[in-house]
């Protein structure tokens, strides 16, 4: 359910009547908009199982900025990686301890600037962590799907590929040919047939 446009500072209703969602904040016992956009109220998603608790959850109220058409740049404005965000990144540097990457897609949306992240050797895969070697998991230039596990330090986000669906999604061989995955840890060059080792993401 959507309604008319609101601007930052505009009160939307008493704080006890709603659960504040995104794009709003609470001031003086009022839910106040923080964005220009449309008000969206969603009824509480509590299932019937919670009916035993008699208190009904009030609806969630949020303000959503309507997404601009895809051709318009800048729509991905306030995109920042957060813990558990799924990202796409390009490997820029590797060493024995970690792979440094440039994040360019956050939650399926292209961001304006690259965010720097690292995939530490212990975060490459779930099992047999001690046997992981960065050099057989990533090469510079690979496109990797990963998950943010920590905001990290001042310069790096910490990423993890420790899941079947996470890992290298696109890679070129040493000769520069595109490769396709053949199993969970190998990719094959489409031209020469050379097989290289990678931490491969499970194709959908």
């Amino acid at each position: 359910m959507t309604s008319a446009l609101v601007v930052p500072g505009q009160p939307l209703g008493p704080a006890h009547a709603y659960v504040p969602g995104s794009g709003v904040h609470v001031f003086n016992g009022q839910i106040v908009s923080s964005l220009v956009g449309q008000v969206v109220t969603t009824a509480s998603t509590s299932t019937s199982a919670s009916a035993s608790t008699l208190t009904s959850t009030p609806p969630t109220i949020s303000v959503v900025k309507p997404s601009v058409a895809a051709d318009e740049e800048g729509s991905s404005a306030t995109l920042l990686p957060d813990v558990n965000s799924e990202v796409l990144c390009r490997v820029t540097r590797i060493n024995a301890r970690q792979a440094t990457v440039a994040v360019f897609v956050v939650n399926g949306r292209v961001c304006g600037d690259d965010f720097q992240g690292v995939i530490r050797v212990q975060d490459v895969r779930q099992t047999e962590v001690d046997r992981v070697r960065i050099f057989t998991s990533f090469r510079p230039g690979d496109i990797v799907r990963a998950k943010v596990i920590s905001l990290g330090d001042q310069s790096n986000y910490y990423l993890s590929t420790a899941h079947n669906s996470l890992g290298v999604v696109m890679a070129n061989s040493e000769a520069g040919d595109p490769m396709y995955p053949i199993n969970w840890r190998e990719m094959k060059s489409s031209r020469t047939g050379v097989v290289e080792e990678r931490k491969v993401a499970k194709p959908f």
């Binding site: 930052p8 500072g9 923080s34 964005l35 220009v36 956009g37 318009e72 800048g74 404005a77």
Partner: protein, 334 residues
């Protein structure tokens, strides 16, 4: 795919050629500054404010108040620069930059920011920093860049002693606060426009900040505006005063502020001039109230401008025929 890192060290030319703009008329008569029609002292000038004019940045706005023209770009939230000295930022770092275009005033401005531009930048920062929900954007920075394309000249020629054939001609009055007043009007415009650009960028804010200016004059014999009740003897208040030489003499003091109307809070305040304090802060209060009233007026324009583009998108999404809905300029007074 991400594009390669943009070159931030210099102003790059557009990648394609440009055509010089052709204006309908370049006759001399049009070049003359527009003479502001006389308006009541409690009315601010017409404001033209639009958002989303610069496509390459996150949010932008363009503002015109009579001779003042400025554009604001908001970049970010974007990653912090990767230097070893950058500290961890739990909340977004706001940077504000105000620059006069070299052609913005009668005297050519240099490309390096001068002290008044740096000062305007720090005041704009003051006005905005409290309003932005910076804690939502950790490890990032938000940049607000204001370019002033045209401004009322804050030059000092009124104050200059003219010398004609060896004779000194005294000016009729000494407009002390003239340059401050000019900067104040610019600052108020910057605040309003920057709020619109931040809203356009979709950056969460506690409230929009609008700018307001007011001056207090000694009420001369020829009374143009009615004296305010209880404003003390012979005090006259003018909202959004013009910078052009004033007939009624120099103002006693000028107040510029950034105002959050929904919270009734002043985020930035700047008073200069001379106010008596025999009755405590009464004289100041009057002036501040006038400036707040001016800020409230510009807030109306700001609200409309902030909604305008979003409304356009909503209409476009809803309407089967997008051409039926056109963007309409917001032009109104408070």
């Amino acid at each position: 795919m991400a594009s390669r890192a943009p070159d931030r060290r210099r102003n790059n030319p557009p990648s394609h050629g440009t055509t010089p703009p052709v204006f309908l008329s370049t006759s001399a008569g049009d070049i003359n500054p527009v003479q502001a029609p006389s308006r009541p002292p409690d009315e601010i000038r017409k404001i033209f404010l639009r958002t989303g004019l610069v496509s390459s940045v996150t949010g932008s706005s363009f503002l015109e108040i009579a001779p003042l023209k400025l554009s604001v770009s908001v970049l970010g939230p974007r990653p912090l620069p990767r230097t070893s000295t950058t500290p961890f930022a739990a909340q977004a770092i706001l940077t504000t930059e105000v620059k006069f275009a070299p052609f913005a005033s009668t005297v050519r401005r240099g490309y390096v920011r001068d002290s008044s531009e740096r000062d305007l930048g720090s005041r704009l920062y003051q006005a905005l920093v409290g309003a932005i929900r910076r804690e939502l954007y950790p490890k990032s920075r938000i940049e607000v860049v204001v370019t002033i394309l045209d401004s009322e000249d804050e030059g000092d020629e009124v104050n200059t002693v003219c010398i004609e054939e060896g004779k000194t001609v005294e000016p009729r009055f000494w407009d002390v606060g003239r340059s401050e007043r000019a900067l104040g009007v610019v600052l108020a415009g910057c605040i309003t426009a920057a709020s619109a650009a931040l809203a356009d960028a979709g950056i969460e804010m506690f409230d929009l900040v609008s700018g307001g200016v007011a001056s207090v004059f000694v009420d001369g014999s020829e009374v143009k505006g009615k004296a305010k009740e209880g404003a003390g003897p012979g005090r006259r208040y003018v909202r959004d005063p013009s910078i052009a030489p004033l007939d009624e003499g120099a103002p006693l003091a000028t107040c510029v502020l950034g105002y959050m109307a929904a919270r009734d809070e002043i985020s930035e305040l700047w008073i200069s001039g001379r106010l008596g304090t025999k009755s405590g802060t009464a004289e100041m209060d009057e002036l501040v109230d006038e400036a707040v009233a001016a800020a409230r007026s510009s807030r109306g324009v700001l609200n409309e401008a902030a909604k305008e583009r979003i409304q356009f998108i909503v209409d476009k999404a809803q309407s089967a025929d997008p051409s039926a809905v056109g963007g309409k300029d917001t032009e109104m007074t408070g």
